[in-house]
């Protein structure tokens, strides 16, 4: 047992949830600091309960700790109460397992899951006593490395990182660690080490590229400034996911995490090609994990954690070809042990309704549809292959099966959107309610009625999607559209049964700036942080006015990144990276979107996106 705590009892007793900071969780890994050569602090830059819900860290934490010479520990953003105390009392940020200061580690890794965590990265560096800028660090500081979806456009945070790891972490870290251990033994300079890293596949070293700009502020070129540094960095990817590391003993938090359960990752990638979706492009091609392997994992992980829920994880579980047998197995295994099964991202059809009926209380659960757009025209633009007929048919079957609650998800601000598309949101919600009343005569409703919740988020164009060329709406346009949606719903016959929620427009705008931003934003982010911006992902802490003030002071126009129309031949900040999908393909899909042309999914027809070069997954399957 590690008896040491970095924080005094006084502090632990005067903050919210001291359990966030004491480590000691079941399956957390304690090693002898004198017996390891390399210490890695792995940070999810948000509060503990969010960070502990993330599968990626659990995978790499387990993988790194399987190396005898490496000890990987976890770090999360201290919540605002502790943040203040650490600054007031000059307490350095520490890793949970050893409670040792992060600054003494060899590596500090950040997983970058959403753009709104960027100021929290600076918080973690700052509290650790690590210089915020890569350029100011020495061998006394850890190597700061980032990975995860936002590393596919790392430019807005490029100055804060020594390295970015592009792609799936399982493949290249061992090589990177070996290189580090050798560099330390040989006594080479930190800069030379970074140059060596830049030659490894998947490693992007932002400081080794010079960015030049055109007069209009767009990028002219990104040029390597050291010998042997590649022009482009290609993503790393696991080709056989049935035969790669999986964490059998994930860490079990004492407090309730946001997602507190065993997670079975059934596949990576997606065949659907929805044009707004970044994950659908980044993780191509779709690769399935063998059901037999997953069954073993499930048993072992339930045993090692004692969790009472198991969940399948993927971008679109209905596309997993071995779903029926896997679900049958789980129902058999879990039923007797009183373990819940959670099946997110299932398409509503006869099979999924039957399964859901078996694993959950119909009266308590709700059906989820994500049409994303209100009209068939706009759904064709975004290539969301869900028709009104699919929805009404699925809803009908569900109502017969006893469901009476429906959740609908839409986006506002999609390219080419018109007033009719927005009006379609109210229409479809109304039709679902009407379907309920038509399906079930009054005496069969058991005193219940239909409840529909329609939610809209604001569309943010993301790098490496066909919509990376699309202008984003302004805040005013967003709010106007939300109002149109609300009025559209209010005008429906069944409006009493429809509740409408919409998201914050300010936060969406900031997300849009960072998503397609460039290096000029590094200064803005640092200045906003120094003015007190942290936890921007949390509505109560997000200081929109401070951000706008900082943009003005730094002479950076945020709308350059959001509402501007981009030309076909513009060089994007993320073009230095290769996610496996060709820019030509993405542009073709952008043109298809504008001409309202749908594209078939990968199982129906290969569209030549470029991911075929990996020789794996769905690319190797025979077409239907």
């Amino acid at each position: 047992m590690n008896e040491k705590l970095a924080l005094s009892d006084d502090i632990l007793l005067s903050i919210e949830k001291p359990e966030r900071y004491i480590g000691s969780e079941i399956n957390s890994v304690i090693k002898n600091r004198d017996e390891v050569k390399l210490r890695f602090a792995f940070c999810f830059p948000d509060v503990y309960e969010i960070g502990m819900s993330h599968l990626g860290i659990q995978i790499l934490y387990g993988l790194f700790n399987s190396y005898p010479d490496v000890w990987c520990e976890r770090v999360y953003s201290p919540w605002t109460d502790l943040d203040r105390m650490m600054r007031d009392n000059h307490i350095p940020l520490f890793a949970l397992e050893s409670q040792d200061p992060v600054r003494d580690f060899d590596f500090l890794g950040f997983t970058l899951q959403y753009e709104m965590c960027y100021t929290n990265i600076l918080q973690v560096l700052d509290l650790s006593g690590i210089p915020l800028l890569s350029a100011e660090r020495t061998w006394d500081d850890p190597i700061v490395i980032g990975g995860g979806p936002c590393s596919y456009n790392p430019e807005p945070i490029a100055d804060f990182f020594d390295l970015f790891y592009i792609g799936e972490g399982e493949t290249m870290y061992r090589t990177l660690f070996d290189l580090y251990e050798k560099a330390k033994a040989d006594g080479i300079s930190r800069h030379d080490f970074l140059v060596m890293c830049a030659k490894l596949p998947g490693i992007y070293v932002p400081s080794l590229y010079l960015v030049t700009y055109n007069e209009d502020g767009t990028i002219k070129a990104m040029t390597p400034i050291a010998d042997g540094v590649p022009d482009h960095v290609s993503k790393e990817m696991v080709t056989d996911i049935s035969d790669c590391y999986y964490p059998m003993n994930p860490v079990v938090p004492f407090i309730k995490a946001t997602q507190d359960r065993v997670v079975l990752e059934i596949m990576r990638g997606c065949i659907r090609g929805c044009r707004f979706c970044q994950a659908g492009q980044l993780y191509r091609p779709l690769r399935e994990r063998d059901a037999k392997v997953l069954e073993q994992y499930a048993i072992q992980m339930l045993k090692s954690t004692g969790q009472e829920e198991i969940s399948l994880s993927s971008l679109s579980s209905s596309d997993y070809s071995q779903l029926p047998e896997l679900v049958d197995f789980l129902i058999k295994e879990c039923g007797d042990r009183k373990i819940n099964i959670s099946l997110p991202s299932l398409r509503i059809d006869a099979f999924s309704l039957d399964v859901m009926n078996k694993v959950q209380d119909v009266r308590k659960s709700s059906l989820t549809f994500a049409p994303e757009a209100g009209s068939q025209r706009l759904r064709d633009v975004i290539n969301k292959g869900l028709t009104e007929e699919d929805i009404l048919h699925g809803a009908h079957d569900a109502f017969v099966g006893g469901w009476n609650r429906v959740k609908l998800y839409f986006m506002l601000g999609l390219p080419t959107e018109t007033e009719e598309d927005i009006a379609g949101i109210g229409d479809i919600a109304n039709k679902i309610a009407a379907e309920y009343f038509d399906t079930l005569p009054k005496e069969k409703r058991g005193g219940r009625t239909i409840e529909i919740v329609a939610s809209t988020s604001f569309f943010v164009p993301k790098p490496f999607t066909p919509f990376q060329w699309a202008p984003m709406n302004t805040k005013e346009e967003f709010l106007d559209k939300a109002n149109q949606t609300r009025r559209g719903i209010m005008s429906q016959l069944n409006q009493k049964h429809i509740k409408y929620n919409w998201h914050e427009a300010d936060a969406s705008m900031m997300e849009g700036v960072f998503a397609r931003g460039d290096r000029k934003l590094c200064k803005v982010i640092m200045d906003a942080y120094h003015k007190g911006c942290i936890y921007d992902a949390w509505g109560e802490y997000f200081k929109f006015d401070t951000w706008m003030e900082t943009f003005r002071e730094d002479g950076v126009d945020p709308f350059f990144y959001t509402t501007r129309k981009r030309e076909q031949d513009e060089i994007f900040p993320w073009d230095i990276l290769d996610c496996g999908v060709d820019k030509k393909f993405l542009y073709r899909e952008w043109q298809n979107a504008l001409s309202e042309k749908v594209s078939p999914n990968c199982r129906k027809q290969c569209l030549g996106c470029g991911a075929r070069k990996y020789d794996t997954g769905v690319c190797m399957e025979e077409r239907e």
Partner: protein, 240 residues
């Protein structure tokens, strides 16, 4: 069906795990150890287990109790071994016994708790507290204000303290009334005492260790209290 009572300790960093999370922790221990625990009926069944007396966050203990209802039990010793094998090192099951099928819930029979309380470094009072505290304890009444749900009321702590002494290690060893009726927190005693010396208890000044939790019983010699699991040779029965 078997009812069991387990005694456990809680030490080290996980003293900061709150009561509800300790409950969730034991539910997971039971699944890891494949304990054949009984579940409640209904659509969201939960394990039938309950604790004797919540422990405040930050306090350590050698005398916590947990009651569980099982569908089957091979032996108490096996159960404890299996559970301890999958526990965090800071929580250890130290004893256990099988209970008659009809037994009142542990939390309803708790009558007292034994503590070792000490001042954290730098938080000691300015006065000669060891002598003065014992003087205070020797007075006929120890009246103080206790906060309750419906406001404050005056209580006499004297009748609720069964034993109190200062140890050679500068701790206060006390056996005091506890449970749902007359729960007396060690901090209230120390706070009230310091008030008589015109001093305030500094924030988070006390480090609290619970030694054991007691129930109340009756036999031919009178009313007594003893630990929830108590063997004759322990000699821990105290007649009131």
């Amino acid at each position: 069906m078997n009812k069991v009572r387990l005694k456990f300790s809680k030490n080290g960093p996980i003293r900061f795990i709150g009561h509800l999370d300790v409950m969730r922790y034991f539910q997971k221990v039971n699944r890891r150890a494949e304990v054949d625990i009984k579940h409640s009926e209904g659509y969201s069944p939960h394990q039938i287990l309950s604790f004797a007396l919540p422990l405040s966050v930050g306090a350590t203990s050698d005398g916590e109790y947990l009651d569980m209802t099982l569908n089957s039990l091979d032996s108490i010793e096996n159960l404890i071994t299996r559970m301890n094998a999958v526990m965090h090192e800071g929580i250890v099951i130290t004893d256990g016994k099988e209970l008659p099928e009809i037994t009142p819930k542990a939390m309803t029979i708790v009558a007292a708790a034994e503590y070792l309380v000490s001042f954290r470094q730098g938080k000691e009072p300015d006065c000669d507290w060891e002598r003065l505290l014992m003087e205070y304890y020797s007075s006929e009444h120890m009246e103080t204000q206790k906060k309750t749900k419906s406001g404050e009321k005056t209580i006499d702590m004297k009748t609720l303290i069964y034993r109190m002494e200062v140890t050679p290690e500068h701790g206060v060893h006390m056996l005091v009334s506890a449970g749902s009726v007359d729960h007396l927190k060690p901090s209230l005693i120390m706070e009230s005492f310091l008030h008589t010396q015109n001093e305030e208890l500094k924030p988070f000044a006390l480090s609290v260790h619970r030694i054991d939790t007691y129930l109340q019983g009756q036999d031919e010699s009178g009313t007594y209290i003893e630990p929830l699991i108590c063997r004759e040779e322990d000699g821990k029965r105290v007649y009131l």
